[in-house]
Symmetry: C2
Subunit: 168 residues, 2 copies
């Protein structure tokens, strides 16, 4: 596609995010299933529900602004391939959970960067409804990332997943 | 590889980062060459120099801890494929620069997530030297991300790359 105007860039970002989120909806159930820690499993399942909502918000933006194209997000594809590798490795319990969290936080940060860009562009272009919807999702992605940090470092679990793994 | 202990997870993270950074050293010159805005080009070139330093820090950590393995970081590979797509698209000037910044910030956020994880694990495992080196790089990655935001939104440029692109 051509990047002649800022609107073109915004369209490309929305198409990329739409692909990224739909890929993630397919991948998260497997990640949840691989988690040993109950709070981690619940956090991933909750985020799966949120992610379905993120897809719906993007569909509203696409409908409102007449964005109909699509392109496979190669960034998310690579991140999920990396997550698949973790799922395929031997090991279990806290070390495996720590590796799972590491993969999940890479995904969250991808989305934080991408929604941050899209929000800024919507602001610049005066797309107020899109800006509001993108901001809501951006907040949820940041909260999901913070929750994963808490699970890893011990806010939610006694000692955290990492402490439990270090004691092995 | 096996993820039986937290040390295994740390080793995997260092191997992943080492691959990610060396891939990035190869990719950044092309991104710098594609930037129209002088400050953006300079920022990418400065980050290339920093990235070479990040590789050296990882080599010290590998040497100190006897980490000899390697594995291709598929996450970074996907992000750089996405960046290549932007380079291949038609368009120039501010819109293209805005898309370039969007791709670069996804890369920075990957690294922020990955170094954040590695720093936390080094802390947990009592690898004080590694923790210090990883923390130094993490700070530089965060600063690079903030600089890109400033270039995009107008801290450095009159109106910023995005404003210039919106006026086309």
């Amino acid at each position: 596609m051509s990047l002649a105007t800022l609107d073109d860039v915004f369209t490309e970002q929305i198409e990329d995010l739409y692909s990224a989120e739909t890929q993630l909806v397919s991948a998260l159930p497997k990640m949840a299933g691989a988690a040993s820690d109950e709070k981690l499993r619940q956090a991933i399942e909750t985020h799966l529900e949120q992610t379905r909502g993120h897809v719906e918000r993007l569909e509203r933006i696409r409908g409102d602004l007449g964005i109909t194209g699509s392109q496979r997000c190669k960034g998310m594809a690579g991140l999920l391939e990396e997550g698949e590798e973790v799922l395929g490795e031997s090991g279990s319990g806290a070390p495996k959970d720590a590796a799972l969290i590491a993969a999940a936080q890479r995904v969250e940060h991808y989305e934080i960067a991408a929604y941050g860009t899209a929000w800024t562009l919507a602001d610049e272009l005066g797309y107020d409804d899109a800006k509001r919807l993108l901001g809501e999702t951006l907040d949820e992605e940041s909260q999901a990332d913070e929750l994963l940090t808490k699970i890893a470092t011990g806010g939610l679990l006694r000692g955290g997943v990492n402490r439990e793994a270090a004691e092995r």
